[in-house]
């Protein structure tokens, strides 16, 4: 059943995206609804998995930690630990839980920092960070590779946020797109460098802690 929910949500998202492309005047509505649909597909995918109580509380706790970190860093524009934590969760726990941690962290932190039309996009972008890190797991074993990936994810995150705002509410010209991207550069550079520092300083420790808990959650019973 849940897999059907996933495909329905994904189909809705695709058709909304097509609508956005064909009717640029309604771009704002179409892409917003498409973002909601993709996020819904992600959650349906989550519901479909065999989520044990242990996975659920672990995901919620990581998302809560990321959200709290974001709230803590709120005074520093652009810099926050969410991307690194989400990418770390993706690598340690796999794409499904990585997505969940990212999406939930975005939603939860915005209850303290302010909900807005950016919420579904942040859920999508951070969920995507966790998903991507989870899929690229074998490549991200090393400390440097992981740090480089978080830098790339930082810029990708910024690009997603700038592009949707442009498509929804700015004139559909190259000039406007460039202006939007340029306006985002300071934040994105701050975000990416924050990621780099955090990933280098705390990355290995984060991985160690997460993998320990993941191992513990796969309890082994020896029946004698």
């Amino acid at each position: 059943m849940p897999s059907r929910a996933v495909s329905i949500c994904a189909g809705v998202a695709l058709s909304l995206a097509a609508w956005a492309a064909l009717d640029p005047a309604r771009g704002a509505l179409a892409v917003l609804l498409a973002a909601f649909a993709v996020v819904a597909a992600g959650f349906a995918w989550l519901e479909g998995g065999t989520v044990s109580a242990r996975d659920l509380t672990l995901v919620a706790t990581l998302a809560g930690l990321a959200a709290a970190g974001r709230v803590l860093f709120a005074p520093v524009p652009g810099v926050q630990p969410v991307t690194v934590l989400v990418a770390g969760s993706g690598v340690a726990l796999g794409p499904r839980k990585g997505f969940a941690v990212g999406a939930i962290a975005a939603l939860a932190s915005n209850f303290f920092l302010g909900q807005g039309p950016h919420t579904p996009w942040q859920m999508l972008a951070w969920g995507g960070c966790g998903l991507a890190a989870g899929l690229a797991k074998p490549l991200l074993r090393g400390r440097l590779a992981f740090a480089a990936a978080t830098v790339a994810l930082g810029f990708a995150f910024g690009a997603v946020m700038d592009v949707w705002l442009w498509y929804g509410f700015y004139p559909h010209t190259e000039a406007a797109l460039l202006a939007r991207l340029a306006a985002g550069v300071p934040f994105n550079v701050a975000h990416a460098s924050g990621n780099l520092v955090l990933a280098l300083v705390a990355g290995p420790e984060l991985r160690r802690v997460l993998e320990r808990f993941d191992r513990r959650s796969r309890t082994e019973v020896v029946w004698a």
Binding site: A53, R54, R216, T219, E220, V221, V222, W223, A224
Partner: protein
């Protein structure tokens, strides 16, 4: 036929020596079993074996079989046993799922597929059984320790299980609430296994007594017979009153003086109101009062960790404070390092402090892998090691067995006699003190929040 049966059960936590067993026993329907034993003897582990959480949730090595209402825990997961078995764990702080009290009590009922129309009435009945109906719409994070414990107990009672496993269920309840709860347990008609450190109250109720030591059952007998055995072999378990033959030396200079201290969290709900309190060197003072009367609040104010909204505090020297849930605030990775934190890493003093509280063997263990009682003692050691002039302990007897409690009492006496003051927050009348001060709540005759001598 037996409702629950352990057959030659042996268990070891992952990477540890055998903690439990071999244990064989059978529980008949309707029995109320008191589970007694020293701290760290395996009581909680034995209870987890009945609910299947050992070994399914914790992992480790398991031998023998546990069968509950015809379901073998080898094949049935804890969640599928949940309708038949209900557990209340030792630490209420770590088992709350929902944000609102009523939803918390309904959580288990919803999981088990209870018909919707029955849910709220059962929630209501369960909360009434622990005198907590007034907490219905409260947020769970804002409750006092005892209030939270009542909510956890209600969550288990609401499930109306055939087998109810209670791990030190009254450790933070005031005496009235404890009596009320035990009466509700007796009414339930289910098989109950109840682990307790303060045996007196429970022996009134229990039909059968188990005494566990080092993971084995030393005694399994009807209550009357068990009383005799306990009196002969473990006298402290039947008569827990610690003899305070050593009278205190004459109280010395004042360490703490509170004048007109008032504090409340919600403007509409009065709490502390004009509290006067004085503590002198050489004194042990116990602070009592019903759940939610503001004892923890007053203790934190006394230790200088919370500024009251009105009133003055004078304190001489340093203060040390042990919170009501010390297991929650573990800073270091080994017990030794945890204690050493307060003395700048001084190993010999730390080791001595661990020994003083019977934790010498656990110096290199992770604090999280200790039993609850061991963790409580670790908390006391970590605070006491720095020898503050004023030692404030919030419910220090939580999880302490009678022998440990006697040791703690003696240690506290010596500590005070060395010219320091101790403020104890406790429901435990067995812990001797020079003075007892009671906090009252609105409904009682004495004015609110004003200490009365007891």
């Amino acid at each position: 036929m037996a409702l629950a049966e352990l057959h030659e059960v042996e268990f070891a936590y992952p990477g540890a020596e055998r903690t439990l067993g071999p244990v064989s026993l059978a529980l008949e329907p309707g029995e109320i079993v008191a589970l007694l034993g020293p701290s760290g003897s395996g009581k909680s582990t034995l209870l987890r074996a009945f609910s299947g959480l050992v070994p399914h949730f914790h992992g480790g090595r398991f031998a023998g079989r546990a069968v509950v209402a015809g379901l073998d825990t080898r094949t049935s997961r804890p969640a599928s046993l949940a309708g038949t078995v209900a557990s209340v764990f030792q630490d209420p702080e770590d088992q709350v799922v929902m944000t609102i009290v009523a939803n918390e009590v309904a959580f288990g009922l919803e999981n088990l597929g209870t018909p919707p129309a029955e849910i709220w009435p059962r929630v209501e009945r369960a909360l009434a059984d622990v005198d907590a109906l007034h907490l219905w719409g409260r947020k769970t994070v804002e409750l006092s320790g005892g209030e939270l414990q009542r909510v956890c107990l209600a969550s288990a009672l609401a499930l109306e299980p055939q087998l109810l496993l209670l791990d030190e269920p009254t450790s933070q309840l005031d005496p009235d609430a404890a009596t009320l709860f035990l009466a509700a347990v007796a009414r339930l008609g289910a098989t109950v296994v109840l682990s307790e450190q303060r045996a007196g109250r429970v022996l009134e109720l229990a039909t059968r007594v188990l005494f566990v030591e080092h993971g084995r059952v030393l005694l399994d007998a009807p209550t009357a017979e068990a009383r005799g055995w306990l009196a002969a072999h473990r006298p402290r378990w039947t008569d827990a009153s610690v003899d305070s033959t050593q009278t205190s030396t004459r109280p010395g200079a004042t360490v703490l003086r509170l004048r007109g201290v008032s504090h409340r969290y919600l403007p509409a709900v009065p709490l502390l109101d004009g509290v006067e309190l004085e503590l002198r060197r050489g004194e042990i003072v116990a602070l009592e009062g019903p759940n939610g009367s503001g004892k923890t609040t007053l203790a934190r104010i006394s230790a200088g960790l919370l500024a009251p909204q009105a009133g003055t505090i004078e304190r001489v020297g340093r203060a040390g404070y042990l919170s009501q849930d010390p297991g929650r605030y573990v800073v270091r990775e080994t017990a030794l390092a945890e204690v050493a934190l307060a003395v700048g890493g001084h190993e010999r003093r730390s080791q001595a402090a661990l020994e003083a509280f019977g934790l010498g063997h656990a110096a290199n263990r992770h604090p999280r892998d200790l039993s609850s009682g061991e963790r409580e003692r670790l908390g006391v050691a970590a605070v006491a090691v720095a020898e503050p002039d004023l030692l404030v302990l919030d419910e220090p007897t939580r999880g302490l067995d009678p022998d440990r409690k006697a040791e703690l009492a003696a240690w506290l006496r010596a500590y005070a006699d060395a010219g320091r003051a101790v403020l104890l927050v406790t429901h435990d009348r067995d812990l001797p003190a020079d003075r007892r001060i009671g906090l009252c709540v609105e409904s009682t005759q004495a004015p609110l929040g004003v200490p009365v001598a007891v």
